[in-house]
């Protein structure tokens, strides 16, 4: 909100300048029948340049031709498919979660909180998590503005406003991109232990995670969390690699890598954003007591017994199902 207000105030007085590194096209252009600015379209000219099969998305430039058509097709995919439909994915997820929340409500701790806590995540693990969350949110928001600004913002708030936002978002996204790589490595190191799949996970799948009732067993992380972890890691690698390629285009020698990168990057990013929304739901309003582990490093014993019974038994050496004994046997 604050940022929006901050943008809105100066917008009235704004004037657009060419970017600092732009070349002024007027300079050095001779008078004459030039079409350097491209404002006269001549289909003939373009037909002479063009070659290849327009139906093949990633065809090589055919012999003797100046350019390929993949650029055009990439444009089609990006404009007609990704820009138009991909943005709906997070919206749909939010809708589904809202419906789920209205029907099922938050998952409460059965028997309430015990008031006793056990440690779950160290400080550095918590910081690694929130660091990733912060960087992810910044990249997600700026990325979505780059991707969807023209369809979501421009029609309502004007092209000029969108171009300002897009410039800001692009610079922000470029700067934070490499930071994401660092966040990903750190997150991986801190959370990989306990996130390998195990047999108990099968049962978790059969019981649909207990989201629709029933008790599920799990160790430090349940199947849902493990899947989320690996989605973040693998998706993150995909996004990072494609992002870095876009950021440093000279790394690849074929423009089609770049085109592929933008598409995979957008798919991966928006896909991960959609799942992240689900993750955030479960972490906050969806499940009582979850957020404690990330805010305090400790969770309530009853939460642990309910959601991570096997882990609870490993850590405390007590049984997760035995009735609570108030005093420890001497």
């Amino acid at each position: 909100m604050l940022m929006l207000a901050a943008f809105a105030a100066p917008i009235a007085a704004q004037s657009v300048r060419p970017p600092g590194n732009a070349v002024n096209l007027d300079d050095g252009i001779e008078d004459g029948p030039s079409n350097a600015l491209g404002d006269i379209s001549d289909t003939e000219i373009w037909d002479n340049f063009r070659g290849g099969n327009p139906r093949e998305l990633f065809a090589a430039a055919p012999e003797g031709q100046v350019m390929t058509t993949t650029g055009q097709q990439w444009r089609v995919v990006r404009e007609k498919l990704i820009r138009k439909y991909l943005g709906w994915l997070p919206v749909i997820v939010i809708g589904l979660l809202a419906v789920f929340y209205l029907i099922r409500g938050p998952m409460k701790i059965t028997g309430g909180r015990s008031g006793k806590t056990i440690p779950r995540f160290t400080l550095s693990a918590r910081v690694a998590h929130w660091f990733m969350a912060g960087v992810f949110i910044i990249l997600g928001l700026t990325g979505l503005i780059i991707l969807l600004g023209r369809v979501v913002i421009a029609p309502y708030l004007g092209l000029e406003f969108n171009s300002v936002l897009a410039s800001a978002a692009m610079q922000g996204h470029n700067l934070f991109g490499p930071v994401f790589v660092f966040a990903l490595i750190w997150l991986f190191i801190k959370f990989v232990r306990g996130n390998f799949f195990q047999w108990v996970d099968l049962k978790w799948i059969f019981k649909l995670g207990g989201f629709f009732g029933g008790h599920v067993s799990s160790r430090q992380f349940n199947f849902g969390e493990k899947s989320w972890f690996w989605m973040v890691i693998l998706g993150g690698i995909l996004i990072s690699v494609t992002g870095i390629i876009m950021l440093f285009p000279t790394l690849v020698d074929d423009v089609r890598w770049l085109q592929l990168s933008t598409i995979l990057h957008a798919l991966g990013a928006v896909g991960l954003i959609a799942v992240a929304i689900g993750h955030i739901y479960v972490g906050t309003i969806g499940m009582e007591g979850s957020i404690d582990s990330m805010l305090k490093g400790e969770v309530d014993e009853n939460w642990a017994k309910e959601h991570h019974d096997l882990w609870y038994e490993e850590v405390t050496g007590k049984s997760a199902t035995a009735p609570e004994t108030t005093e420890d046997a001497p």
Binding site: S167, V179, K296, G297
Partner: protein
């Protein structure tokens, strides 16, 4: 006058004046409280202790380093990064040169500026998320801590958003936030950037006088 001219001109002048005057007022106010003269025979030098105290606390202590690693990395990354950005970023040098100082010095190349920004941002984010994710930090933090972190973050973020230098509105936003930051600074805990030398120095002097080498 355009909005950009306003935030770069009169508002900046005002903010800078508030910054300088209020910070001085506060520092002098603290010093003026004074200390009663210590008449016990000294075992060492208070003045040397003042300087030593200031220098010693720059260097983390090995045996605590592991427990406080996140803080050390975040803290040093952020502060050194910010210092370098503010004083060696070409935009900032130009601004200081044109508006205040009238001379300039070599700036960082663009890639180094971006790298430093990334480090400073990472540091600040680490420091703040540490603040919200630990019981000790949650207990001792107050509004001022959060406002200070966020205001600084927004200044940096708006600066980063303005990197293309193509839109005056983005420059003006950065400048506006810089102005607000300058005004907020002397009345808040951001002042630690100046008061640290008093605090380290005075405890250093107390210890130094007793001949203790901490």
């Amino acid at each position: 006058m355009s909005f950009l001219n306003f935030v770069e001109g009169p508002l900046f002048t005002f903010a800078a004046a508030v910054f300088v005057l209020a910070a001085l007022w506060r520092l002098i106010g603290i010093i003026r409280i004074g200390r009663t003269k210590d008449i016990s025979p000294p075992k060492g030098s208070a003045a040397v202790g003042f300087i030593k105290g200031n220098l010693r606390h720059f260097i983390p202590r090995g045996i605590f380093a592991k427990r406080t690693m996140v803080h050390l990395v975040g803290g040093y990354g952020f502060h050194l990064g910010l210092f370098v950005l503010v004083f060696f970023g070409v935009y900032h040098i130009d601004f200081l040169n044109e508006r205040i100082l009238g001379f300039s010095w070599p700036a960082l190349p663009r890639w180094a500026f971006l790298l430093t920004s990334a480090i400073a941002f990472s540091g600040l984010i680490m420091l703040w998320v540490r603040r919200i994710s630990d019981p000790v930090m949650r207990l001792i933090s107050d509004k001022d801590d959060h406002i200070g972190s966020w205001l600084t973050f927004l200044v940096m973020l708006s600066g980063c958003f303005a990197l293309e230098q193509a839109h005056d509105s983005l420059r003006a936003t950065h400048m506006l936030l810089v102005d607000i930051w300058l005004i907020y600074f002397p009345f808040s805990r951001l002042m630690h950037g100046f008061t640290f030398f008093l605090s380290r120095g005075q405890s250093g002097a107390t210890y130094g006088r007793k001949g203790i080498d901490l």
